[in-house]
Symmetry: C2
Subunit: 136 residues, 2 copies
DNA sequence: TGTTATCCTATGGAATTAGTAGGATATTAT
DNA sequence: ATAATATCCTACTAATTCCATAGGATAACA
């Protein structure tokens, strides 16, 4: 299941992508519009900023804004930043690979093969979808 | 990420599907072969039995066995029993649908649309894969 | 020099995960 | 009968993750 962090994060990014101009939007504005706890959203936007997806401005007229064109923000990036690995087991993860403790031989593992298929199909979807596509 | 319960469960089912004859296999045998904690595996096999996938026999010569031909056990069933909903958000779940608290309109939700795609592609994989396919 | 809004660390409750413990129950063999 | 075998079942626990919340520090603007 998708964490609320990821869900809220995507909603907030979509909200920003919808803006006509890319001027800063306050946390409180997004919080109200999307019914997300202000403090929780604050922490989510902070990680999105640290990951390089968002820029921010302090003080009056401040807020968060996208650093790239929504067309150029792929959902693979968004998912990895918010949710972590796209793979369902670390032994099939491209970016966070780790060997399984209980598997002597990956090639023999039934779960491994199945999860490679799942990873690839999800990767295809996230790779072909940009933030711009999510704006209805 | 896939829970260990699901991972171990699939491995155990695959182990049973590999057997030449469908005679009962003891928990301890699977536990040793697949390097899974005996007690943990016991609880997993119990849920698999309660879900109708496995039969069991007590006493000497007892153990667990598949109730159907591996060809007829689809991974959709296995995943739902072990991991729960296949959908990543309950608002796109076919079997466990629930409305989101924060969404006034699903049709307008950017996450909703994306997750329908993910659900469908995963459902396709799990639906087209049977336990027999996992026995390489 | 206030006011505004993000920045950042720390904390906490609830839920989930990954087991463990130990006795009850049913089946088989002697 | 009875001892041995193996599942059945409930309850418990430790660790981790999730979903926030609190509150002050910092930076920008009027």
């Amino acid at each position: 299941m998708l964490s609320k962090k990821t869900k809220y994060g995507i909603k907030a990014l979509t909200y920003l992508a919808k803006q006509e101009q890319n001027t800063p939007v306050q946390i409180a504005t997004i919080s109200k519009s999307e019914t997300i706890s202000l403090k929780f959203l604050e922490s989510i936007l902070l990680t999105l900023r640290k990951s390089g997806l968002l820029g921010s401005k302090k003080g009056k007229g401040g807020g968060y804004y996208l650093l790239k064109d929504p067309k150029d923000i792929k959902m693979t990036t968004v998912m990895r930043v918010l949710e972590g690995p796209i793979a369902m087991v670390s032994c099939v993860s491209l970016n966070y690979y780790e060997k399984c403790d209980d598997c002597p031989d990956e090639a023999e593992c039934s779960v491994h093969h199945l999860m490679i298929q799942v990873r690839d199909s999800n990767l295809k979807i996230y790779g072909e979808t940009s933030l711009a596509d999510l704006v209805h």
